[in-house]
Amino acid sequence: MGHPLKRKEDRRLLTGLGKFVDDIKLPGMAYAAILRSPYAHARILGIDVSKAERLEGVVCTLVGEEVAKLTDPFLQISSPPANKLKDYCLAVGKVHFAGEPVAAVVAETRSTAEDALELIDAEYEAVDHVLDAKEALKPGRSRTPPTQATRRPRPRALCAAPFATSRLQT
């Protein structure tokens, strides 16, 4: 009490002995690299990862269509209509911003993973994009979510419940 205290973690941080996530190396660890969209808004016509898969040192690749089969869309926490957005960790069908991840490569080293990105053939068809918030609010501009989540059937427990609040539904 009444005395300034020195932080106990500072010695290791000041001597370069901190352990940040990037400092951790595990046996058999692999590295992922992500291919990103050069377009702000485009339809994905096709992503060919066959060449990337054949590069020595590549463990596997992943594209949006596989992600859509393997996972549920991200949970949306916005108020309507933005909560109807259906998106995944890799773009499915369409890209919605420049830099959106469209494919991933896992390889034995980081440089091999990045080399493999260059072997991916991604074909896009650019569509209209909006760069201005006011412009986006005008009728007919592309502010509607591209894919609408389909309403899931109400769980049986919810149907049978004597009281249900809509805030619990997603």
Partner: protein, 171 residues
């Protein structure tokens, strides 16, 4: 059929350099950046990669007496060089006065930018033992910190300058 790697094993280059006083030899791809050579080949993970583009300064080391952003230097360029990293500042249990000053003045929070800050501060104080606040700010303007807001870092460098000049520092 498998596609061969862009850099076959035969293309690996041997790099010899002195780091923190010790002679090191390691092999790396010709395109390997110095920071990855230090971190992945020599296992000196105190030097951090913040941006990989030369903006943040987390990877700053002193090479042949001058600060460099080690993500902007190829490992092969360090052939024969004398490099000082954050791991080389303390002498055993005894911290360098700059390290002490950062500790005493809360010059760090998460500690990610700290190694780069320490190296830039050392380079500054070696050339300017009694810098003004403005000179300190200019000296560390290649180093970004997202925690502290820099005020305590400037205070730390100022305190370090006093320590290094042998001036008694209170609190």
């Amino acid at each position: 059929m498998k596609l061969a790697k862009l850099t076959p094993k035969d293309d690996l280059v041997r790099v010899r350099c002195k780091v923190n006083g010790d002679a090191h030899t390691g092999t790396a791809e010709p395109r390997t950046l110095l920071v990855y050579f230090l971190r992945d080949v020599l296992n000196l993970t105190g030097t951090h990669v913040g941006c990989d583009t030369g903006h943040c300064g987390a990877c700053t080391v002193i090479m042949d007496g001058k600060t460099v952003k080690s993500c902007m230097v190829l490992a092969v360029q360090a052939e024969g060089a004398n490099i000082l990293t954050v791991e080389g500042l303390a002498k055993g249990e005894n911290l360098h006065p700059i390290q002490e000053a950062f500790w005493e003045n809360h010059g760090l929070q998460c500690g990610y930018c700290t190694p780069g800050m320490l190296m830039s501060s050392l380079f500054l104080l070696q050339r300017n033992p009694n810098p003004t606040d403005e000179e300190i700010r200019r000296g560390i303007d290649g180093n970004l910190c997202r925690c502290t807001g820099y005020v305590n870092i400037v205070k730390s460098v100022k305190a370090a300058a006093k320590k290094m000049r042998g001036v008694e520092v209170t609190a």
